[in-house]
Amino acid sequence: MGVLDLCPVDVTNRNRLDFSLYIPEADFEHLIRILSEARSRATELAASIGARLGTDHRLAELANAASTRIENMLREVRTSALESPAAGGLAELQGALQNEVQPVTPSPANPPEQSPAGIDTMASFAAQAGLEPEHWVLMFVKDLISQLRASGGINFEMAERLLQQRKDDFLRDFLIARRMYRTYPRLFPELQGEVGPADRETIPQ
């Protein structure tokens, strides 16, 4: 059996919704974070090996196989997190993602290094587009620029992966923000007057 024969992992037809045991929301967050970071690392490794040894090299094939496995696993966990009754209320997240709602999230603790000119450009872009500096679109553009600078080029596949990574980050931040709001509602006085009791699970823009 060749390496690539192992690549396609179709778990979509598996009994993924048979959650006879409980998976806490925190576990889903943890799994998504691990898999999201792992996918980035695996993609980077596969690209590095492919660039040095050629895409037909066995190592490159193994790296791509591992990357595909991680990608599929992440997709499956994300789907399970949204559909599992144990996760309770995560369906709203699906709507938030589809509607491109941006939750209230703190700025990253370690933002990527940028030149002052780059920061000015992004700030200008954000202002012109009417976006908050923390909006995911700006983060995505920064990711694209960073990737372009690091590798000297970019393709559709890489752009798609970066966008997916941004969506995963969005999902993780959303879950954390919602849990904080549920646990410590007093820390969000500005939201108390805007959100009624019945809508308290919804994170406003």
């Binding site: 009994n15 970071e37 792992a38 690392r41 590095s48 040095r52 040894l53 599929n72």
Partner: protein, 75 residues
């Protein structure tokens, strides 16, 4: 195409980290869903794929060490 031993060591280190960090995934799913659950089994397969990659990379790394630290032709 060539790769030198230092690059290969770095790639091996990153791949080993990747394997270590993803080891949690099947463990969590097994604990929550049981070993027989297909999501847990898919996670096992994912980790197995990463382990195969790392194992192969380590073998490649060892062979490169024996040729010295200079660039060499990939197999």
């Amino acid at each position: 195409m060539t790769i030198d031993a230092r690059e290969l060591n770095e790639l091996t280190r990153k791949a080993t980290e990747l394997m270590s960090e993803t080891a949690d995934v099947p463990r969590i799913l097994r604990n929550r869903l049981g070993e027989q659950h297909q999501l847990a089994q898919a996670a096992d397969e994912m980790l197995g794929s990463i382990e195969s990659f790392v194992r192969e990379l380590r073998c490649f790394d060892i062979s490169s060490q024996s040729t010295g630290s200079g660039p060499f032709e990939g197999s």
